[in-house]
């Protein structure tokens, strides 16, 4: 089977590693021929020989699916990508949403996304393949009984708003029990200020496994994830996790069995959970055993590649998706985009009008202040004239003979009295 992945620039994210892993493991199979095609502004190579399946891997690459010859087209949906964007990135968010309306097959990495697609696009073929773990890089480790401060590892890129790294660091800092904090980031050079934490990063899988094993607990307070790879990797070496319910967590983390789930924005509850783990070695041990047990059931990278290969074969064998329901969904998406854009523009105009009003007020206030300063300056100059006139008057008095005589008499009287 001949396939291609349309990819953006692949960084160090878990999503990029998933693509690399599938490409590498499928290429190693005799029945697959795999190409990675950059589709983020680079010219896409032309060719007449159609791929069996062309796979977009990010919303920005999905529009290029029809620029490569292919018998079937699919999207590897590693997240509902509109969730990555804050309100101010309005247009990117809408564009990311529209991927869900395309006439393609989908491969999701978690059950919640498969269920969501079943609701929104019941017509669209959808396969679910969980990302596997390289079991040779993350073998189970023997854990010594814990002593000393709780060793807390926070995973995530601090500069990404939805990773919750700063919130996690603040919670560790607010613990009553002693703790040692390490932050591991994909790009530590871009981590910025992280108070009181050792920041490490750029580690290979073996280095990550060592880091997990050196930690008592992994903390991940992300607001958005599709699956959350780090807690799964950590579980493989027996390190439990404290996580927010970022979606995808439910595929792996079971509260009280292999980790603890804490609420979003609940700093007091998160601090309490960490203090519990610091005080209760038995609880930490139970969660560690639970993590290892869950990890044993998790698919390996090879298992996942097999499932991904099966999914691609199924997509290739099925008829191409019917375009009509997709077009209907696109029409609804267009309406939504129109209404939301209209409102976005109105809100932006209201904010602009308000800002212009404030600017005009400040300009008037500045002019009034300048006028006032000018008035004060004139008054000051008047006062300086009066003071100079007084100084001259004093000098005149001092230069008079009667004044000098009076001063001499006073001095004489003082000497006689002293």
């Amino acid at each position: 089977m001949r396939i291609c992945f349309l990819v953006p620039e692949l960084g160090r994210s878990g999503g990029a590693e998933t693509i690399r892993s599938y490409a590498r493991l499928l290429e190693a199979r005799a029945s697959f021929e795999v190409e990675l095609i950059r589709a983020d502004g680079e010219p896409i190579p032309e060719g007449d020989d159609p791929y069996d399946v062309a796979i977009a891997t990010w919303w920005g690459t999905a529009g290029h699916l029809w620029r490569v010859p292919a018998r079937r087209r699919a999207v590897l949906l590693q997240s509902i990508e509109s969730r990555f964007y804050e309100e101010r990135h309005f247009f990117e968010r809408l564009a990311a949403e529209e991927v869900l309306s395309l006439p393609v097959a989908f491969v999701t990495v978690a059950g919640w996304m498969r269920d969501l697609l079943a609701e929104l696009r019941p017509d669209a073929p959808c396969e679910m393949v969980r990302r596997g773990i390289d079991k040779s890089a993350f073998p189970p480790r023997q854990r010594a009984p814990r002593e000393g401060p709780l060793r807390v590892l926070v995973e995530g890129q601090p500069s990404m708003w939805f990773k919750g790294v700063h919130e996690a660091v603040a919670c560790v800092g607010a613990m009553r029990e002693p703790a040692e904090l390490t932050v591991v980031a994909g790009d530590p050079a871009d981590a910025g200020e992280v108070d009181g934490a050792r920041v490490v990063g750029g580690l290979d899988p073996g280095g990550m496994a060592d880091l997990y094993a050196e930690s008592d607990v992994l903390v991940k307070l992300s607001r958005v994830e599709s699956l959350g790879l780090a807690p799964i990797e950590a579980a493989h070496v027996g390190t439990p996790a404290v996580v927010t319910p970022y979606t995808g967590h439910e595929e792996h983390v079971v509260h009280g069995r292999n980790g603890l789930v804490v609420g979003f924005d609940d700093a007091p509850g998160t601090v309490r959970a960490l203090d519990r783990l610091a005080r209760d070695a038995s609880l930490l041990g139970t969660l560690s055993e639970g993590a290892l047990e869950t990890a044993r059931e998790w698919p390996s990278a090879e298992d996942a590649a097999d499932s991904f290969a099966d999914a691609l074969r199924a997509i290739a064998e099925r008829p191409a998706p019917d375009a009509e329901p997709a077009l209907q969904d696109l029409a609804r998406a267009r309406l939504r985009r129109l209404e939301l854009t209209r409102e976005y523009v109105r809100q932006s105009e209201a904010a602009l009008e308000r800002a212009e009003g404030e600017r005009d007020w400040l300009r008037r206030a500045l002019q009034e202040a300048r006028d006032h300063v000018e008035e004060l300056g004139a008054a000051m100059r008047g006062l300086e004239g009066i003071v100079a006139q007084k100084d001259r008057l004093i000098e005149d008095i001092r230069s008079e003979r009667a004044y000098r005589a009076a001063v001499a008499v006073r001095r004489a009287l003082l000497r006689r009295g002293g």
Partner: protein, 260 residues
């Protein structure tokens, strides 16, 4: 672990944040204020009396925001100082099974500030929108609603884009019931993503425009509704009360005390 949990609440809060039945972690019942609850763990929804027993947890909802610190050993609220936890209310499991909204249903405007929002109501009805108001969200009111709005509350002139401190405590209930939600833009959203799983408003005009769009094109907002339900799943009552019971049953007393 088999624990009995009593949730003491007025009928309104109980209908959206209560829980009854058997679960892997134990048995939950709802008790009315004043009835002495017989249970291992007692949780109140809001500031309600519980006979002569101090409840294990007071899940206040919005009341702590900006007001005097509520009394109690363990207080959960959406905002405030000295909280044991900061969280909105759970969502009663039944609400996930509520019938889909009637497209001809009204907009439910949840406000206990009718005077403050009189102008908003006038604007909404002036647009031809069907509006019902309620001082608090209840399951009965939710069942008849096509969509739900929690309008922003400001002391003075609302600023475009301004954020309140926290999302309303009841915000997840309509999301669980597949009702589109307009909620105040907030600093603490408890995992909600504005524009993705709900529509965030800072001013009355924002509410009016969004309500108009939702009523005119309900099908176009299916992704928000579906993602809202995904978000609400995290607040499922049987899950959250289960975690609470587990912590109270196993945590050392020292760790259960609020931080001074």
């Amino acid at each position: 672990m088999t624990v009995t949990l009593a949730i003491v609440a007025q009928p309104g809060p109980a209908s959206i944040a209560g829980l009854e039945g058997s679960f892997p972690w134990g048995q939950a019942t709802v008790a009315w204020p004043g009835d002495p609850p017989r249970a291992d763990v007692v949780v109140t929804l809001g500031e309600v009396p519980v006979g002569d027993r101090e409840p294990d947890v007071r899940w206040i909802g919005d009341a702590a925001a900006g007001g005097a610190p509520p009394s109690g050993r363990r207080v959960i609220a959406t905002a405030g100082d000295g909280l044991w936890s900061r969280a909105p209310w759970p969502v009663r499991d039944d609400l996930f099974e509520l019938d889909p909204p009637d497209p001809d249903g009204a907009l439910l405007l949840v406000t206990s500030h009718e005077d403050l929002h009189a102008g908003l109501i006038e604007k909404l009805t002036g647009r031809g929108l069907r509006v019902r108001t309620a001082p608090e969200l209840t399951a009965a009111a939710l069942a008849g609603a096509a969509m739900v709005a929690f309008p922003p509350v400001w002391d003075g002139d609302p600023l475009p884009g301004a954020r309140q401190e926290a999302a309303p405590a009841a915000v997840f209930a309509p999301l669980a019931a597949r009702r589109p939600v307009i909620a105040p833009r907030a600093q603490l959203t408890f995992g909600l993503l504005p524009g993705v799983d709900h529509l965030a408003a800072s001013t009355d005009d924002d509410v009016v425009q969004y309500a108009d769009a939702l009523e005119s094109f309900p099908e176009a907002f299916a992704p928000q509704v579906a993602l809202g339900r995904v978000a609400a799943e995290r607040q499922r009552a049987s899950t959250l009360y289960g975690r609470l019971v587990e912590e109270l049953a196993t945590a050392a007393p020292r760790s259960a005390a609020p931080r001074g």
